[in-house]
Symmetry: C2
Subunit: 201 residues, 2 copies
């Protein structure tokens, strides 16, 4: 693509570095910004810079935070006996949106992935081990994606945490609510039979 | 969605104002920026601001330009007897990429669309009428999208330009190269029969 302006070309190239945005989409975004007020572009770009330079991570759970300790860790209403271990911030947001969980979190910052060169020491696993003894945690829920990497990380964590006296659980795997049995893959369906739950009578 | 940080929330909201980017995609972009170097965010945001504040429009053809007159209008190698009227800058880029056109352009800045409240006076039509008498233009190609709005604009332009002694043509409409007759809609196929071209013998 040949651009009539170096400024446009630059902006398109920077936008196209973002995941899922190609040069055509980037150009569409640039044209949108050109049609909108200059102020909109200023707001966008200052929000990005302030976010990137101002962001902090909670020193307890490593979730993203505006303060030294995040809103969840410092909330006296949260249940301090239960800890949910997740891969990243998006998982915290997803679980918070369910309104089904009132405990604390621990954000690993990824999962073990030898292919991508991510080992246990690249994740916040040591800090998890260190925060437990002085905590009131009685149950640790591993809420990791049901992938090879997620399962490897879960396996590593269960071994790493075996000396700490807490129940370690995993989020349930089974047929998604609203899903059709017919179209569920064999592994998930098999798992849903093995992990069947009794109707409370 | 509840965000653990006002800074993140702000950045997500600003990104989600862009067309085709929802809050989930915006969050993915934000997390990408957080994982990348701070410098990357600075580069992106300064490219956007410089683009938005520094951009100029060619005073002759209204294409986007870094100078007062754009690279195409000022290029002595372009054919000044032929003028292509397009809706916006993207069309110029698309036509330039074909390498099939060596004439000049005129960018209208949109098409007539009563539904969106865009009338002839909102477009660069008057300046088109004004630039013609002092030009060498012998043919005007209307390269507008084959939509209701594009056709309306083309009809308006043919009437507006009827006193100017130039041949007015439209880009060909027909079966796309590589397209299958079977899957071409009736209107396009009908048009392609009416506008059939003779094999040069």
């Amino acid at each position: 693509m040949n651009f009539p302006s170096k400024l446009i070309e630059n902006a398109v190239e920077e936008l196209a570095k973002l995941p899922g945005i190609g040069r055509k989409t980037a150009l569409r975004l640039v044209l949108h910004l050109l049609k909108a007020e200059t102020e909109d572009t200023n707001l966008l770009s200052s929000a990005l810079v302030r976010m990137r330079t101002g962001i902090r991570y909670c020193k307890t759970c490593h979730n993203i935070s505006d303060q030294e300790v995040c809103g969840i860790c410092s909330n006296p209403l949260r249940d301090r006996t239960i800890l949910c271990v997740v891969s990243d911030m998006r998982d915290v947001i997803a679980i918070e949106n369910t309104s089904q969980y009132k405990g604390l979190y621990h954000v690993l910052g990824g999962v073990i992935s030898p292919l991508e060169g991510i080992g246990p020491s690249d994740l916040h696993i040591q800090s998890l081990v260190e925060r437990l003894p002085s905590s009131e945690v009685k149950e640790i829920i591993l809420a990791l994606s049901p992938t090879m990497e997620g399962d490897t990380t879960a396996f590593y964590l269960t071994r790493k945490l075996k000396d700490y006296p807490a129940r370690i659980s995993s989020i349930a795997r089974g047929v998604p609510v609203g899903g059709e049995l017919e179209y569920t893959d064999e592994i998930t369906l098999g798992r849903s039979i093995l992990d069947r739950t009794a109707y409370s009578s």
